[in-house]
């Protein structure tokens, strides 16, 4: 990703409005209230760590941001505009990219093709121009290939580019997902448990990588993670959920010491 073409996209904004504003979001599945009035802001250029025990509603919130789920009430706005009027496939184009908790790669495709799909919204084409291989379309696609290659190299996936993703180790597949999200050039990046399945050393490396993505490219990051060491070391703000409710929000050091958070993780918290 070349910095010149999008210098510090997130950080450039300082009009005081948050990049992402989640307000009073409620999601129900049958009898379960998965999100129960969640509210928080994410200022541009920050890393927000979202924590909470299993089933707290973290992934559900991500799925609302991707418009895969629709809240029964509340609002989510991105750059001041509500995203709830948008269909799921029109979320990428406003600059929200994501990875999935349980890998959601395109299994039958190579690493590079997976990453290229991440750039789908960055170029235009249709069946006709693609079948004819019109020069203009091919030029644009070449530009995207170039970017994809840069990101693949940035994430150390270079030698694997032409391999099918299906056979790669879990941690590597997670990295492919990250590359796929980055090639979109998102303003907001949603990472759902990126450290899952990584060893100690790899987690430390991932922490540095996450900060680098923010610092080098000004991408705002919403990070869901169970690995406390990672969350506390990279986040600027931490929001803790339990049973669909926000139980705490603040600086990592403060959240870490919060009695409600400690209780939630010890399993004694009853909302």
């Amino acid at each position: 990703m070349s910095e010149a073409s999008r210098p510090m996209a997130g950080l450039a904004r300082d009009d005081g409005r948050p990049l992402l504003a989640v307000s009073d979001v409620v999601v129900r599945f049958g009898g379960i209230v998965a999100l129960d009035g969640i509210t928080f802001d994410l200022p541009a250029g920050r890393i927000l760590g979202l924590i909470g025990p299993n089933g707290a509603g973290k992934t559900t919130l991500f799925n609302c941001l991707s418009r895969l789920y629709t809240p029964v009430s509340g609002d989510i706005s991105f750059e001041g505009e509500s995203i709830l009027r948008r269909p799921p496939h029109r979320i990428a184009e406003i600059g929200i990219g994501r990875t999935f908790q349980n890998l959601a790669l395109f299994k039958g495709m190579t690493v590079v093709d997976n990453v290229l799909v991440g750039g789908h919204t960055r170029t235009r084409s249709d069946f006709f121009s693609d079948a004819l291989g019109l020069p203009a379309v091919r030029d644009r696609d070449r530009g995207l290939h170039h970017d994809a290659k840069e990101i693949i190299d940035y994430l150390g996936l270079g030698p694997l580019a032409r391999l099918p993703v299906a056979g790669l180790p879990f941690g590597t597949q997670k990295r492919v997902e990250l590359a796929r999200a980055l090639v979109m050039r998102p303003k907001l990046l949603l990472l759902d448990e990126p450290a899952g399945g990584l060893n100690h050393e790899e987690v430390a490396e991932l922490g540095r990588l996450i900060r680098r993505i923010r610092d080098d490219h000004g991408i705002t990051i919403l990070l869901v993670e169970h690995h406390m060491g990672l969350v506390m070391s990279v986040s600027d703000i931490v929001v803790a959920l339990n049973f669909g409710r926000k139980i705490c929000e603040g600086a990592p050091s403060a959240v870490q010491q919060d009695p409600a958070v400690i209780a939630a993780y010890l399993g004694t918290a009853k909302t």
Binding site: S66, L68, P88, H89, R90, I91, A92, E93, R98, F100, A104, L105, F106, K107, G108, M109, D113, L116, V117, G118, H120, T121, T123, S125, D126, F127, D130, A131, L132, G133, V137, D141, L144, Y154, L155, G156, L157, G158, P159, L160, A161, R162, L163, G167, L168, P169, T172, R180, M184, E205, L209
Partner: protein, 342 residues
């Protein structure tokens, strides 16, 4: 960032070479060789065999259409005989009732089927897997009867169908009608395969495959899955419709009962035998559905379809992923053989 060891190991396979040539180089070589053979072949064969080879190419185009839908986009169809029929009838009606030259009926058949496929694909969006298969099955069984309806009889010729006149070679070329139609079909085949290859390797092709592999993730990447799926249906129908159109010209005859559900299943057999998702596999599928029923009949007249069934099972047993997997396997073996001899 350091590349870990597990990665470095797999990386050896990143740029495979077979016998000193890269995969794309081999592909180009094989394509050129196959084209030369295809160009020369009719000169050494009797008209009837040339006619059969023309049918092989026509079936291949139809199977390619199904492959774009099923292999590339992951949608099932048991109804492609319907699009083949629509293509065939478009050509027959235009030639017979309106005196349109045969080569102009091809694009017309393609467009009619594109629209028909797209429209059918819209409601089909709500159906997944087996349910979609059932809906397309309904299309396949309904089409022959619709073609027989008396209100359309003025155009379709009802049960009798339509007989059309076989075109001569143009510009006084010294070619028999069968040879001319062979070369004409070959040209269309090359164009349509080239377009399919381009499409599959393009942004659109990647989006189609992404939908096949993980529709939710595709949506999150900004792919308008509904639009691509209905367009895939349309383009698939276009391919199969053009095949139907060529079929009508070559066979010189269309009738409702040539386009039964059995034809749709034959396309599916060709698709699986050739390899789902592998574009050149459609050619192998075409050869299979053209010649294997004949072969079975030669083995036993009374039990032809039983023999066909046995052959089919054997083929699936030997090549569980169709010719596609088989070709990959053989290429891999050959490569190991050559590199161990070095």
């Amino acid at each position: 960032m350091a590349v870990r060891e597990d990665i470095a190991e797999t990386a050896v396979a990143a740029t495979p070479r077979f016998g000193g040539l890269t995969v794309p180089a081999w592909q180009r070589l094989i394509t050129i060789a196959a084209l030369l053979v295809a160009l020369a072949l009719p000169l050494f064969l009797k008209n009837f065999h040339v006619f059969q080879l023309t049918l092989v190419m026509i079936y291949s185009i139809a199977i390619l259409g199904l492959n774009l839908l099923t292999g590339i986009n992951g949608q099932f169809s048991l109804g492609h005989s319907a699009f083949y029929a629509i293509g065939a009838y478009t050509t027959a009606v235009l030639m017979d009732r309106f005196g349109v030259p045969y080569f102009l009926t091809l694009p017309a058949a393609g467009i009619v089927c594109l629209v028909a496929g797209f429209l059918f694909g819209l409601p089909a969006l709500r159906l997944e897997g087996l349910y979609l298969a059932l809906a397309t099955f309904a299309l396949a069984v309904a089409t022959p009867q619709l073609l027989k309806l008396s209100i359309f009889e003025h155009w379709t010729g009802g049960v009798q169908g339509i007989v059309i006149i076989k075109p001569d070679a143009p510009f006084g070329l010294p070619l028999s009608q069968d040879r001319w139609l062979y070369y004409f079909t070959l040209a269309i085949l090359v164009l349509m395969f080239a377009a399919a290859m381009r499409l599959v390797g393009s942004r659109t092709g990647r989006a189609l495959k992404a939908i096949r592999d993980n529709p939710l993730a595709a949506k999150a990447m900004g792919v308008d899955t509904a639009l691509y799926k209905s367009l895939a249906f349309g383009v698939s129908a276009l391919y199969t419709g053009v095949a139907g159109s060529l079929g009508a010209i070559v066979v010189q005859f269309v009738a409702p009962d040539s386009f039964t559900f059995f034809l749709a299943v034959s396309f599916l057999v060709g698709l699986v035998v050739g390899g789902v998702g592998w574009i050149p596999g459609a050619l192998i599928g075409g050869i299979f559905i053209m010649y294997i029923p004949n072969l079975a009949e030669q083995v036993s007249k009374g039990l032809a379809w039983a023999v066909y069934g046995v052959i089919l099972i054997l083929v699936i047993y030997v090549m569980p992923t169709g010719a596609a997997g088989f070709v990959r396997l053989v290429a891999g073996r050959l490569n190991r053989l050559m590199s161990s001899n070095r």
